[in-house]
């Protein structure tokens, strides 16, 4: 919780326990029914328990009132994960025909302190569905704010993708991906979002139209950080299901060779080369030369063919996954 903020509407500067509030005087609290509770004299637990006991009383009575709304806010403040409280709050909001814009401000405050909570994001989505397209930009601003704190927050990304697809706001999304990848090119969530944008944005013409410029962008990212798993997978994804195009694009094998010149043990470069050979790439002299040079430094693989040699090199430079690479080797020899 942010120390200065109080996200509950019912709270005042001096916290008054529900049992001493005149507006709740007629409510009989209902304790949680799961066996005997030893009394532990810790203030926070007492506060927690009392609020929940009063919440339960109103929840079981189905009372959809302003005081019930306030009590749900307090209960949420104490434990934003309690889904039953959120459910009841929505029923109360509906019954009171409450101002949902204000509700969005309320939930946003809570989300900022609890950004990895399923209930909060679902509550936001429920509100977005009611508030409609006018709120799209505000939602995109909000997820930006959350992603600025943790650029891989899965909930925030899911919400952002849903708002994009339901209400739009694609216009600046590729630019946003550029920005996030400039900040951290290892951010797999941003690469995933980039793929969503280039394949689904109504403004970009789809994968086929974007492929050429995306290959350039991705290769630049790979050359800057060859150990980054995400752009390697993204590069292959740009040619998903179109092996002939993948093979024909010389930029693909070139980037592998360029990387291997500086780091002959780069797993992702070797692996992509292997994939290219597997789908039928006729190796260039340069490719042969690069692999031959690696073979020379290791007498064990001197006699192996190109693809087998790459597998043997991978087995050595990626021992954690030695079984994967030796399996890959068996698929190659069985094909040739």
């Amino acid at each position: 919780m942010a120390p200065s903020s109080t996200s509950s509407e019912g709270a005042t500067d001096e916290w008054v326990p529900p049992s001493r509030r005149p507006e709740l005087a007629d409510v009989v609290p209902v304790p949680q029914d799961d066996g005997p509770h030893p009394v532990v004299p810790i203030a926070y637990r007492d506060e927690f328990r009392e609020v929940m006991d009063y919440f339960r009383a109103l929840y079981f009575a189905g009372e959809r009132s302003v005081r019930a709304l306030h009590l749900t806010a307090e209960a949420i403040d104490l434990n934003p994960g309690n889904y039953t409280v959120w459910h009841f709050r929505r029923l109360v909001l509906e019954a009171l025909e409450a101002n949902l814009q204000e509700e969005m401000n309320f939930v946003d405050q809570i989300a900022e302190c609890n950004p990895k909570n399923y209930q909060i994001w679902h509550h936001k989505r429920w509100l977005v569905e009611k508030l409609g397209p006018g709120i799209a930009n505000k939602e995109h601003e909000f997820t930006r704010k959350i992603l600025a704190m943790d650029a891989k927050n899965y909930h925030a990304w899911s919400h952002r993708q849903w708002v994009l697809q339901a209400l739009g706001g694609w216009e600046t999304e590729l630019q946003y991906c550029n920005q996030l990848l400039e900040e951290d090119v290892f951010n797999n969530s941003a690469w995933n979002q980039r793929y969503l944008v280039i394949t689904r944005s109504p403004f970009l013409g789809g994968l086929a139209a974007m492929r050429d410029s995306e290959v350039d962008y991705t290769i630049e990212a790979i050359l800057a950080n060859p150990q980054n798993e995400s752009p390697w997978r993204y590069l292959k994804g740009l040619y998903k299901g179109e092996n002939d195009f993948l093979m024909a694009d010389e930029r693909i094998s070139d980037v592998c060779l360029k990387v291997l010149k500086n780091d002959s043990t780069c797993v992702f470069a070797l692996s992509l080369l292997l994939d290219l050979l597997q789908i039928g790439l006729q190796p260039s002299d340069e490719l042969r030369g690069t692999v031959e040079a690696m073979k020379n430094s290791d007498p064990e693989i001197a006699d192996a063919d190109l693809a087998t040699a790459i597998c043997l090199i991978l087995q050595k430079c990626d021992p954690l996954r030695i079984n994967y690479w030796s399996w890959y080797r068996t698929t190659i020899s069985s094909q040739i």
């Binding site: 799961d34 434990n79 969530s189 995400s230 997978r233």
Partner: protein
């Protein structure tokens, strides 16, 4: 594994039994609304360690059934909480552990789950309509355990899951969502249960999954994230279902899990030297089970229950 790093099974059993009784701790209050999940994690771990007899079955069943909502057919996370598929699956799984599915109105529960399927084949978690591939798994797993898969449109359910497949062979929470090991377990599990694994690019996904193993041996859930004991379950079970588990270094993973034990007071944490909790204790022991660790019962990777429990359900032909 004979280097002093061994599973402190008895300590873990004691830890679980004590957590169950500490209803007044802070953790217990915060987890109050998901107590049924906690019961599933704790009791399954006890069963994996051959110690399910440490609890009184009738007490457990009675409490489980007090979380049931006869009007909807679903279970809440605790007594007095709303029904949701997350807790309905846990309730069904716990009843399976004790061979007490007879306590259920099976058709009523199955109708509750089936009623949450949407037109596009996806599933909502409850009447409020949150959609996630987690709920597809939960629905399919629950209905299969109840022998009621025919109550849903399986083809549409499968099509929806396949629509969440990504360029790396993994799956996300919804179409276009980033691949995440937890969501991958859900999608692969649902496809396995419905006999639809031909939709998975096994080699592509297998490589992505084995890339999740970090240098220290533990598994992460997405690229560039920290290793965490819980992914021992999500990643390993997925690898087993697609028959690629030999692609990771099991000894190193087992050592990572064993290093996350509190050897004094029991329990397993997310990473070495962190505080233990019931969730990671379950995932640690379940991960070891999937690697055939001695003294731990084998676990079914799709149903997330001990294999003997699953066999009891499917080899008995009374439904």
């Amino acid at each position: 594994m004979g280097d002093g790093r061994e599973l402190a099974a008895e300590k873990h059993v004691r830890y679980i039994v004590t957590v169950e009784k500490k209803k007044d701790s802070f953790e217990s209050l915060v987890m109050e609304h998901i107590r049924l999940n906690g019961a599933y994690w704790g009791l399954t771990t006890l069963d994996l360690l051959h110690k399910l007899d440490a609890v009184e079955p009738d007490e457990v069943i009675q409490w489980i059934m007090s979380c049931y909502h006869p009007e909807s057919g679903g279970f809440g996370g605790n007594v007095g909480h709303d029904a949701h598929v997350l807790y309905t699956l846990s309730a069904v799984q716990v009843l399976c552990l004790f061979d007490r599915l007879d306590a259920l109105d099976v058709d009523k529960v199955a109708d509750y789950i089936a009623g949450l399927q949407n037109d596009d084949g996806s599933f909502s978690g409850d009447i409020w309509g949150e959609v996630d591939t987690r709920f597809s798994y939960i629905a399919i797993c629950t209905l299969s355990l109840l022998h009621r898969l025919h109550k849903i449109n399986v083809q549409k359910a499968v099509d929806y899951i396949v629509s969440c497949k990504n360029l790396d062979g993994g799956f996300g929470a919804m179409p276009g969502g980033e691949s995440h090991a937890g969501q991958i377990f859900c999608c692969v599990g649902a496809l396995a249960i419905t006999g639809s694994l031909h939709h998975v690019d096994r080699d592509l996904l297998g490589w992505w999954l084995c890339e999740r193993q970090c240098k220290e041996g533990g598994l992460n859930g997405r690229p560039e994230k920290l290793a965490d004991v819980c992914y021992s379950w999500w990643v390993l079970s997925s690898l087993i279902m697609i028959d690629r588990v030999h692609w990771i270094d099991k000894d190193k993973l087992a050592k990572f899990i064993l290093n996350c034990q509190d050897k004094e007071n029991g329990g397993i944490s997310d990473r070495p030297d962190n505080a233990v909790d019931i969730y990671h204790t379950y995932f640690g022991v379940a991960g070891l089970s999937l690697m055939e660790y001695p003294g731990v019962k084998p676990m079914d990777p799709a149903y997330a229950l001990p294999l003997d429990v699953v066999n009891r359900i499917f080899l008995r032909k009374e439904h």
